[in-house]
């Protein structure tokens, strides 16, 4: 009898120890990241690391840490350079999970590298957060632990179309001319579907090969379809060529939006007045007006640094002359999403945090955040930028805009005479 009592006591103590261990808050929460610091995605990778470091510091200092089990826990950030290569992505994720015992893995840049790491994290039931893979197809593969912060490629032109639908309801004819690449095709697939939903008529659609040097035959055919506005592009070089040859052929439309090219300062530098009024979608731009007040107006909780705070922290962790772009912002916003996910789950277990992230909605300096059941980001709206008098102005959505849109944009003949795109 006595022996069984002692045995029972020991079992009870073990259970109690187990319970208290399971419920105890960790000393720190570790984010692991196979970053692209060299190789073809080095630029985006450097930005992402800067953005993550900035937000980790904000969480640890200003926010006071992640609240879990009634205790504030600091974040730790562990990253290695994957050289933008798939073999390194998997080996480094293996190390991060097994050796460094990270609590969450942030995916590297690009859809391909994100996909490369997914089977490894899935097999270990590890939360895998995607801030650089825009392909919708990632979320059609049945992964359980992949959650996206970057907006999907199909949503790039949704804002542009919504804006034109609102400000110029009579403009119904849209032309699509874009690079034959996986990314541009995905973007335009989404644009086409959204255009149809809003009642637009796609009067022209054609692709051009990568590295194209002459777009005049395509643009001549586009001109004949008499569109009200044009959505196109793919990368910087072809976007620039697109704009230049539209000017050469004097193809005047009320609006022109080019993916990847028009948001870059080099675009205006190369084209000067020819670029006036040209628009482009972006995930985030410095100058957006997302704030605690905007969040309140939208009925969303707010978390994170203000844009200025983010900028200062980013510079602290990178270099003084480096400005954050959307790669930095989306990676930083991902830190904030993870923090809220852990707090909501009151746990660091990947399955519980994944569930919590599924029902999470908030706004940060990056904009809205909300994922669907598959992990696809549906709460983030792209911003649309327009060149006005040589400056990039955020014209859409309203919550982020820094100025009104100039629509219709001046004709190419007017632009050649020095007429600037000024909103009426």
């Amino acid at each position: 009898m006595k022996r069984s009592l002692v045995g029972g006591f020991i079992v009870f103590m073990f259970l109690l120890a187990g319970i208290s261990f399971a419920g105890a808050a960790p000393d720190k929460i570790v984010i692991g990241h196979p970053a692209c610091l060299s190789g073809k995605f080095a630029k985006a990778g450097e930005q992402a690391v800067g953005g993550i470091k900035a937000c980790v510091e904000w969480v640890n200092t200003t926010y006071g840490g992640v609240e879990i089990g009634g205790k504030k826990v600091p974040l730790d950030y562990k990253y290695y350079d994957c050289e933008s290569k798939k073999e390194a992505v998997t080996s480094l994720i293996g190390r991060l999970v097994s050796v460094d015992k990270v609590n969450v893995v942030f995916a590297p840049y690009s859809s391909g590298l994100t996909l490369r790491g997914a089977p490894v994290t899935e097999s270990r039931q590890m939360l895998y957060m995607d801030h650089g893979g825009a392909s919708n197809e990632i979320f059609q593969q049945g992964f359980r632990y992949v959650v996206q912060t970057i907006g999907p490629a199909t949503s790039y032109h949704e804002g542009t179309l919504d804006m034109i639908h609102k400000i110029a309801p009579d403009d119904k004819k849209v032309a699509l001319a874009y690079e034959d690449s996986e990314f541009a095709k995905m973007v335009m697939l989404g644009a086409k579907e959204h255009a149809k939903k809003l009642g637009f008529e796609v009067v022209f659609e054609r692709t051009y090969p990568k590295g194209v040097t002459d777009l005049t035959p395509l643009l001549s055919a586009l001109k004949a379809s008499k569109p009200d506005f044009v959505l196109g592009g793919g990368h910087f070089e072809d976007g620039q060529l697109f704009n230049r040859q539209m000017a050469d052929l004097d193809i005047n439309t009320n609006g022109l939006s080019l993916i990847a090219a028009a948001t870059l300062p080099a675009f205006y530098k190369a084209l000067t007045t020819m670029a006036e009024g040209v628009m482009g979608p972006s995930h985030w731009e410095y100058g957006v007006k997302y704030s605690a007040e905007e969040a309140k107006a939208a009925g969303l909780p707010w978390i994170g640094p203000s844009q200025e705070e983010f900028m200062a922290l980013f510079k602290k962790h990178t270099s003084e002359d480096m400005l954050p772009d959307y790669h930095a912002a989306e990676a930083g916003a991902q830190v904030l999403a993870y923090v809220l996910g852990v707090q909501k789950a009151n746990a660091i277990d990947s399955t519980k945090v994944r569930d919590a992230l599924g029902s999470l909605k908030f706004m940060s300096f990056y904009g809205g955040w909300d994922v669907d059941d598959s992990g696809l980001q549906v709460g983030h709206t792209m911003v649309d930028v327009q060149w006005q008098d040589g400056k990039r102005v955020i014209v859409w959505p309203k919550a982020a805009q820094t100025g009104k849109v100039c629509y219709p944009m001046p004709t190419f003949q007017e632009k050649a005479k020095g007429v600037k795109a000024v909103p009426k």
């Binding site: 080996s91 480094l92 097994s98 490894v120 992964f143």
Partner: protein
Amino acid sequence: MKQIPKYFPLIPVFAAYAIMFLVAENMEGMWQLMSMLLFYCALGQAFNVFMGMTGYVDFGYVAFLGVGTYGMALSITRLVQYEFLGAWIIVIGFGLAMVMSTLLSMAVGAVALRLRGAYFAIATIGVNEGFRFLIEGARIWNGSEGMIFTADLNKVLGRDTAAALCTYWADIMVLVIAALAAFVTLVYMRSKIGYALTALREDEDAAKVMGINVTKYKIIAFITSACFAGLLGATAWALKTPYVFPPEVFEIHYTIEAIIIVMLGGAGTLLGPVVGGLVYGISKYYLSIFLPGFQLLIFAPVILVIIVLFPEGIVGMMKAKTKGTGMARFIV
């Protein structure tokens, strides 16, 4: 029994692979690192069959890995609807990868192998880019959109088996390919093919004068090497990463890596690609951990120094040092 000593050189190669496997199996967190090292060893071993034995540098080598990846991807995505095939679509994928890489090597070889030295290298530079643009431009096999087939694998094999295939069995298959490539290399070395290839590597004209059909032997080595590359693409790129995007599978830097591995270890040696793959992979991995972002700055001059100090590669130098000793039987 007399034949057995002929295969002694396989002992250090297979021992290295066995140690890598045991480390991966028994040490926490080492599996993915070992799989990366195995990939580099297999890449070097497959490339060595042609470059090491003939002295010809094929800059378009990655194209064979690319078409092998497509072979597996096509099998999975196009045959997924035939449920009765089950896991056989993987076997068919391997077959298709081999056939496609063989056909491409025959097409490329028929033209490029008539050239020598720099002319051959230049002729092969465009192969990967050309093939990529063919796929994108002609919009074959989904063109620039590529293929993602995790969901297809889940459908055919079930989620757990598909996950095990991507994270475990694909790596085992890479190990088998690496071992097989080593075995074939040794068989070639010890046969008429190997002697003919050595003769042509030393002096192609003299080999011709001696009555060796150099074109025939070059083609044999080229096709064999391409075949292994196709299998490697089907495994390390298609099964381990269930997607294929043209720019990623025709990236020239994999060819450069293969050249570095073979040169580092010792071109034309059996053990060289294993040593080269291990030195290259381990250095890169640990430099990326301790000096993220700066590893290439350090690594490039180190490679240069090694190649300048040991022009015959690490194993080439070891061979010279062990000549006439008992070790010479193992280091080939």
